[in-house]
Assembly symmetry: C2
Amino acid sequence: MAIRYPNGKKYTPPTSEVKKRSIKDYSFSNRGKTLEDEIDEANDFYLQQQLAVIHKKPVPIQIVKVEYPSRSAAVIREAYFRTPSTTDYNGIYDGYHIDFDAKETESKTSFPLKNVHPHQVDHMAVVAKQQGICFLLIRFSSIERYFVVPLEMLQNAWGRMLTGGRKSIPLSEFEEQAIEVTPSYGPRIDYLQAVRQILP
Amino acid sequence: MAIRYPNGKKYTPPTSEVKKRSIKDYSFSNRGKTLEDEIDEANDFYLQQQLAVIHKKPVPIQIVKVEYPSRSAAVIREAYFRTPSTTDYNGIYDGYHIDFDAKETESKTSFPLKNVHPHQVDHMAVVAKQQGICFLLIRFSSIERYFVVPLEMLQNAWGRMLTGGRKSIPLSEFEEQAIEVTPSYGPRIDYLQAVRQILP
């Protein structure tokens, strides 16, 4: 099912928004899971193990009409997706404020920067000024590789694009400058392992 | 308009969810503003002044049906309010992870603890374990007084209730143990002034 934002962009409602998940098996294979599901799985694990408290923010909605039948739950009958003004994930890990967004690409060779919204870069910049730990968690879905991209690396590529340079980040740059997350067990995408390496 | 949660609780959609705000006058009078509006105003101010980056989380929604007419925005046609599993506000202030909820009471003498959900107390406890700064921002609307309630004070009152004690926190206890926020100019409810006093 394809949903469109007001700007015409396609939007796939994340699993967690549409139905209650019941994922409890921390298996090695991703079995067609979305990146969001994998991050949820890691965040559940971190919470249970008291390692970190990181949550995905709900999708912002503009509510226009609500019905409230007696004796049953209120039903939203007209609402619209709003453009988020921040990143999707934040929380705390050992005293550090964590703030990041998750992105997927089907490309095997580079990450297209059009997947990143300017307001997200701006948001991460102000959070970093307050000493927050900001990054992107990027999945190259076709080749099953995951990288934690520190804000600085993103900002460099972003600046390069704005000054007429390439509109994507080549995989080789990930291999040199990002921190790769190797899938493992419990949780499968243990991204905090990588984040630990960019802490001050 | 009263909306009900699945549990029968009334829910008033916060202004920010229903229409885009255009509040830019940081005036002394609250002019019937909700506490949420006042906090938004403060957060806007903090962001502009680069003092802190604190946002309200969107209300979590379970989406069931979406229509996507061609050439116009997707319309959510059936959705339900979900119970939030965390507090409503979080962000970062000078390296500190900030996590809080806002509550209002019409009572002039005490704050009823039924306004606080057990899962919110649990959430703040795990965030505090990670060294986050957790509190409630409480408005006594009838007497126009505001307090920052440190998590410890809340936990004490909560424990007292669970062991058969009173189900509310008397105003006198606020005056002794909470930090009062005195309305001022720019922003009117400068709650970070009070929060500064509970930093480690």
